[in-house]
Every structure is written in C-alpha cells, then in structure tokens.
Amino acid sequence: MTDTQPIVSVRDLRKSYGSFTALDGVSFDIEPGETFALLGPNGAGKSTTIEILEGYRDRSSGEARVLGTDPGKGGLAWKARLGIVLQSSGESGAITVREQLTHFAGFYPNPRSVDDVIAAVGLEAKQKTLIRNLSGGQKRRVDVALGVIGRPELLFLDEPTTGFDPEARHQFWDLIRQLKSEGTTILLTTHYLDEAAQLGDRAGVIAGGRLIDIGAIDEIGGAEAREPIVRWFENGPREERTTTPGSLIAALQQRLGVEVPGLEIIRPSLEDVYLGLVSSTSSVQRSTGSTTEGVAA
C-alpha cells in the first residue's frame, strides 16, 4: 500500500567515527503529513541522524528510507522532493534575497512563487538587499525560504529558529503551520521545547546516540512524568506530585483554610518532561561510559 508507506523510515541506524559511537541503534518512522520533532541535548546525535537522512553522511549500519529511497543513493530527482534547512549557514552572499530565491527556484520542477515565499518569511522590505548585509535572524529566514522554495514533500528543519526574536519565531510557526496544512511532512530538530510543542505531532528524544523515548507530544515521557505538581507554603515551601490535585487541595483547605498560602498547580511542560528524561539517561550514560573506558584502558 503506497499511501500508508512512511515518508521516513529508520531501523537500527548506527553511525560511528572511529571508536566513537554517535548513533547506537535508532529506529523511527515519520508518516505522511506528520511533523516529527527530534529532541535531545547537544552532541546527542540529532544532527547526525538528520544529515544521514538528507544524504550528507553515510551510515555505518542499519536501514534508512526517505521518500522510498536510500538517502545514501538519492539522485537529483529525489533531492528535488526534499527541502533542507541546515543548522548553520555563513555564506558570503554577494547576491540579493530575491536573486537567490529566483535562482534556486529554477532548480525545481514545480517551485513556489518567489513573491509568496518572500512574504511568508517576512523579508519583503529586504528583498533587494545583498544577503551578506542581512542580520543573523534575517539570513536564517533566507535559509528557511530556500528550504521551502522547491515545494518539498519532506522538509528538514535543523534548529530553524536559532537567533530569531520572539515575534519572528511566531511568524515562523505560522509559516510552518501553513506548510503542514498543505500536507508537507516535516522533520524538525530544536532546542526550544515550546517550539516542538507548538509544531510537533510526535517527538523522539535522543540522548547518547539512542532514542530514549518516542511518542505523541502530549504523551512523551509517560503519564507519570506529566502528573501535576501542587505547591504550597506550610512551614516553608512544600510540593507534591499527584494524579488527584483536587482532593489534595481539598485536604489542604481543611487544614490551612480556604486560601491555601502560596498555592500553585503546575502541569509539567514538555520542557520539564524532556529535562527529566534527559537527566535520567545522562546519569546512566555516565556510569556505563566509565566502565567502557576502564575496559578500553
């Protein structure tokens, strides 16, 4: 069934550089139209994963399919169906925003209109400016514009909003939502957990080269990690995790009066859940890491 085939399919993906293992058996699928957020600390293997899928790096072992093709062997017709926004770009760019977009649009069989894309990234006022004279955030918007100009079926966004101000970030989110509504499948890596929560349908968390959790954005980390926390003052600050905050508060009100001092109910954000996940694995990693080092030495 071609219509149910995943856009991206990764099985037991491994990548090592000499003795260093960057990816240690990662598996996931991305379904058509889905936005999948890949989360994890620096050096966890996010960029290695995304660059293998973009065709930039070779994998050491495992299976990878992107739009039905092995990304290590993708030709020009395959590349024409992808949009890539790399993590960094420092091009000198003695070319204007409009010239650059018009030029790149020519590479693709069915590109978006240059005017629409310039408007979507909010660079109308800068379209005749040389790219080298733009600010960092504006250059980043050019990167995003170049990523979407070819009307990609699959869009890779590697930390797309680094260096954006809050307003630009919200504009960018609107643009991505529009792409989603047009059916674009998106693989996103980001350090901003609110961004993953805003845009992502599902997320995978990578740490130490392994996928430590994967699931819908509002389910990742498990139900326990999402238990609300109730905080109040009673001989100093107190807090308690509970699945039944209502009954806890009722009990507190009986004991401390209706207006419980310093009362807060906090639902853990994706960021809290993520930090919980990553910190628990990094302590495990550290202990196993020292054993292997001991063996190697």
């Binding site: 930039y56 020009l76 890539i84």
Partner: protein, 269 residues
Amino acid sequence: MSNTLTLGTRRIGYEVRQYFRQGDTVFFTFLFPLVMLTIFATAFSETSFGEDANGNDLSAAEFYLPAMLAAGVLLSGLQNMAVDIAVEKSDGTLKRLGGSPLPVLSYFMGKIGQVLVTGILQAAAILLLAGVVFQAALPTDAEHWLTFAWVFVLGVVTSAILGIALSAIPRSGKSATAVIIPITLVLQFISGVYLSFTQLPEWLQNVASIFPLKWMAQGMRAVFLPEGYEVLERGESWDLPGVALFTALWLVVGLVAARLSFRWIRKDS
C-alpha cells in the same frame, strides 16, 4: 541534459554577478595585471627592450603585454577558482547546493563560464590599456589573433580546471588566499611573467617548463612580440606545438585531479 545546460547557463550569470560584487576578487584577480602593466610601462618608459626587424624600439608596454595577459589567465582561472571554491566549501555554499537538485555539471559550467567571461573582459581591458594608453603596437593579421584565441581559451580553461583541483588543498576558507596566492606568485616569477624567462638560470627554466604558465606566457609572446624575438626563446623558436601540448596535458591532469578531489562536502569529517 537540457536542464543541466539551462541551469549551467543561469549559473554563469549568477556567478559573474557575484564576482563583480566582491571588491577583493575584483582587485586581486581582475585589476592586478592592469595595475602591474601600468607600473612596468611607466617605470621602464625610457628603457628599450630591443628592436624589431624594422629597427623600431620595443617599449616596456609591448614587452610586458604578453606577460600580463598570461598572468591574467592564471589569476582569473587558477587563483580565482581555487580561492572561490575553497571559500564556498567552508562557508556552506557547497553543502547547500549539494542538498539541492543542481547538477554538479551545471555548477562547473557556471564556474568555467564565469572564468571565461571575466577572463575575456580582463584581456580586453589589458589590450585596451596597452594599445590606447601606452601606444603598444598590436598584431594586425588574422593569423596572430587566431593564435591568441586558442592560447587564451586553452589557457583559461586549463587554469580554471587546475584551480578547481587546487581548491581541495586549503583546509578552510580563511586560509585559501594564504595557500593559493604564494603558488601563483612563485609561478609568475619563474615562468617569465615578471622576469625575462631566458635570464633565469637553466635549472630554474627546466623547473618552470614543467608547469603550464611558462607555456602560456610563451604562447602569448608568440602573438605579441615582433618577428625575430623567438631567437631569445629556448630552442630559438616559439614552439607553438609545445605550448598546445603542455597546456593540454595540464588540462587532462587537472580534469582527473578535479574529478577525484571534488566533493560537495567533506563527508564524515
């Protein structure tokens, strides 16, 4: 294939536009031979560089014109390409192009086209400067200009291809000029561009004869120096077949090296 050609043609315009917007490349590759010709023609304006069959003195501008044309070919081709591509490799331009459906061949068409366009404009400017400002006598017959055409085109293309191959050497864009300019500068000094080739010691002439610039400069001298000056060359002849052979040989070497060394990105680094 037609798509490759269309995109390649578009790349030429795109590359030329960027070339002339970069002040440093315009100065160090485009204007440099013009500046040098002006300096030599002015500094040695009273010096005679021998006389032709009719007893007319050869002026400094006439003597240095072929040398500066050869230097221009080397700078517009080799130096410009090697630095340009090394910078594009390190600043992410190539990585972006490598992720796009642009054929590699179109990219190189753009580069070589840019070198041809800027090289032709440069040669025209040098000839204009020599002929109009410094009153240098230029050939009036078709045969000499035909020789000029093939020496120039073969030289530019060979230089450009060698530049593409050499772009693999600098480890970063920042070091590119520091790595490449000394190579081209030394070549110019030992190949008879700034110093008269036959005044160099024999062993240095032998070393220089391995490299293509000596042959390109000799080809240019065959076009622009008066009849009789070939006796000053090694073997007392312009040796145009040798010019063609050695330059073409370097073209093949460059093609093989470029084919083996060029990558959109350094994979797995």
